[in-house]
């Protein structure tokens, strides 16, 4: 895995209507079963953040998003201390599980790739 995001077949699945009707229920079940929502997390909270590119993406969140993320992390840590998930009313609803960080991560990855391209480019005269 080179980038900050793992390899995903999601775009391919989403592009195909048949595949997505088949796989979506399974995916939803899997996301729920993995249990992070019971700790009040959004999926993007689990993204590996110990990387310069993700750190830069994190710095691009709005103040509100940064605050909410920190709150979710603290709340989940406390739940972990208490050895159990949050009370049910605090579980994250599936519709709240939005990818708030991934667009920024993709932007940063694109910028880094472009910088690399310019840094390693070979100039030829026409």
């Amino acid at each position: 895995m080179v980038g900050p995001l793992s390899i995903s077949l999601a775009p391919y699945v989403k592009a195909s209507r048949t595949l997505s009707t088949w796989i979506k229920p399974i995916a939803n079940w899997y996301a729920n079963a993995s249990g992070y929502r019971k700790y009040g997390f959004k999926y993007d909270d689990l993204l590996v953040e110990e990387r310069p590119d993700v750190q830069r993406a994190l710095s691009r969140l709005t103040t509100r998003e940064k605050y909410d993320r920190a709150y979710r992390l603290k709340r989940a840590s406390q739940a972990s201390v208490l050895h159990g998930p949050l009370p049910k009313e605090q579980w994250l609803k599936p519709e709240e599980d939005v990818r708030y960080l991934v667009p920024h991560v993709l932007d940063v990855v694109k910028e880094d790739a472009e910088r690399l391209k310019w840094d390693t480019m070979k100039v030829t005269r026409k």
Binding site: S59, R60, H104, D107, E114, W118
Partner: protein
């Protein structure tokens, strides 16, 4: 004589090759070609601090120049320009924002595209603002506030013109500018009617063609306008944080800049024509060693600020130099000899003519006229000096001096006691737009009339109005300036 002839020749050349095109798309394109080895294209936009929607937005927009657009990213713009060997720059004036690309001949297609893609499709992303633009804005503001001369000129504009031309070139040090503010300001400013394209070292027809192609998508809405400037004047005393002791003494006048005032500035300027010598100006002989006096002449489309900037190491010398400067101003108002006038006219004329030699000068001199849609030649500017008579000079100067002077002393922090006092009531700005500084050295001077004392508010149990003079610094907000006026009248 030779110089005069040379400048006339130059002027004729400009008159011949300066093309002003108001094409069907409503764009104003002008270009001169002296067969220089490099070309430059400037997009002059009516987006100076005068027109800004919020203090500092114009400054931030200037620093947003050449960031990512729909066509290329910020790094792409920079790297690609470097490959072509070009230089991109943006500079902000009170009336205009100039986006300039300088490049080798033949690369005009790329650089006109860089400029126009910023004008038409810049993204103004939040992260670029926070990561690249805001730190540079902050740095420039800090640098400007550390320079007493810049600070004096900024304050002089604020006092002289209040709103419009009075708004600072620099963002307030604590501002609340967002990328959205900049985006909406740019959207209102970057319209066809607001942009003049000025090229040097480029064929006018080529430039027109390129601009038509690339700026065709710019919104066609009309030009930005701001209320006509009027001159107020006043006095403000500020603390300096390092740098020399500085005093600016100036007068302003509303209306189209006149040749008389340019001549006055040239007459007063103690700048020597030869190195290591003393100039022949009436001020030059009277100022103490180590003190400098610069004449300031700032013409705008509908107002002019003329003044003298006195700088020196200690307050006593600056005071002496300031006195000499004021004396010279006063004696100029009571008329100068024909010989002195001739000398001053020649100096002013040379300054006007040689300004056109440089690219920046050309853009600043002709840009505003191109924007106004008038075909202009250097001849017209220079001939206005020719008809100048001693009586016209005297009338203009004494009329200028009848106005309220703008005085900006910027002193090193040597005051025994200073207090800050903020306007009460509806004043809800977080930024300290109004500071009343009480200067103990001035105690005993004219105090605020007793009728106004009731309206005062005390700081730390002391009434600011009660003892001694007060000074007011009006930084930017026109609302505040208006308020102070009604407060003190």
């Amino acid at each position: 004589m030779l110089a005069a002839r040379a400048s006339t020749r130059n002027a004729q050349r400009i008159a011949r090759s300066f093309a002003t095109v108001a094409d069907s798309a409503g764009l104003k394109v002008a270009a001169v070609d002296y067969n220089q080895p490099t070309s430059a294209v400037t997009f002059l936009v009516k987006a100076g601090s005068r027109f800004e929607s919020k203090p500092g937005v114009a400054h931030a927009l200037k620093n947003f120049a050449f960031k990512s657009t729909a066509k290329r990213s910020a790094i792409g713009t920079v790297r690609e320009s470097e490959l072509y060997g070009g230089v991109l720059s943006a500079s902000l004036g009170r009336e205009h924002l100039a986006l300039t690309a300088e490049f080798l001949r033949g690369d005009e297609e790329f650089f006109v595209d860089v400029l126009s893609s910023f004008v038409t499709s810049a993204k103004y992303t939040r992260h670029e603002f926070e990561e690249y633009v805001a730190p540079v804005v902050e740095g420039e503001v800090t640098a400007a506030s550390a320079d007493p001369a810049t600070q004096a000129i900024e304050l002089a504009h604020a006092l002289a013109f209040r709103s419009g031309l009075g708004s600072s070139l620099f963002a307030p040090s604590h501002n609340s500018i967002t990328a959205e503010d900049i985006k909406s300001y740019a959207k209102s400013a970057f319209t066809k009617g607001n942009i003049a394209v000025i090229g040097t070292g480029i064929d006018p027809s080529v430039l027109t063609q390129l601009v038509e192609k690339s700026l065709g998508t710019a919104p066609a809405a009309g030009t930005t306008s701001s209320p006509a400037s009027s001159y107020f004047g006043g006095e403000s005393r500020t603390e300096a944080h390092g740098g020399p002791q500085t005093v600016f003494i100036g007068f302003g006048v509303a209306g189209v800049p006149s040749a008389e005032l340019a001549v006055l500035a040239a007459h007063l300027s103690p700048e020597a024509a030869v190195k290591w010598s003393q100039g022949l100006s009436p001020i030059a002989a009277a100022i103490p060693q180590g003190t400098s006096v610069q004449s300031v002449y700032l013409p705008y489309s509908d107002a002019t600020l003329v003044g003298l900037l006195v700088q020196g190491g200690n307050a006593a010398d600056v005071k002496a130099a300031g006195k000499a400067a004021v004396q010279a101003l006063k004696s100029a108002a009571s008329g100068i000899s024909a010989e002195e006038l001739k000398k001053a006219v020649a100096k002013a004329k040379f300054a006007a003519a040689s300004a056109v030699d440089s690219r920046d000068g050309l853009v600043s001199v002709l840009g505003s006229k191109v924007l106004a849609g008038s075909t202009t030649t250097l001849d017209a500017t220079l001939s206005s000096f020719d008809g100048l008579t001693a009586t016209a000079f005297k009338t203009a100067t004494s009329a200028l001096l009848k106005g309220k002077p703008t005085r900006i002393p910027i002193q090193a922090l040597s005051l025994a006691f200073t207090a800050k006092w903020y306007l009460p009531e509806t004043f809800s700005h977080n930024d300290c737009d109004v500071i009343v500084v009480i200067n103990r050295e001035d105690i005993g001077g004219s105090a605020v009339p007793p009728s106004k004392r009731g309206a005062s508010k005390s700081v730390n149990g002391e009434s600011p109005w009660g003892s001694g003079c007060f000074e007011i610094n009006v930084h930017s907000s026109p609302w505040v300036s208006g308020r102070i006026e009604s407060f003190l009248d």
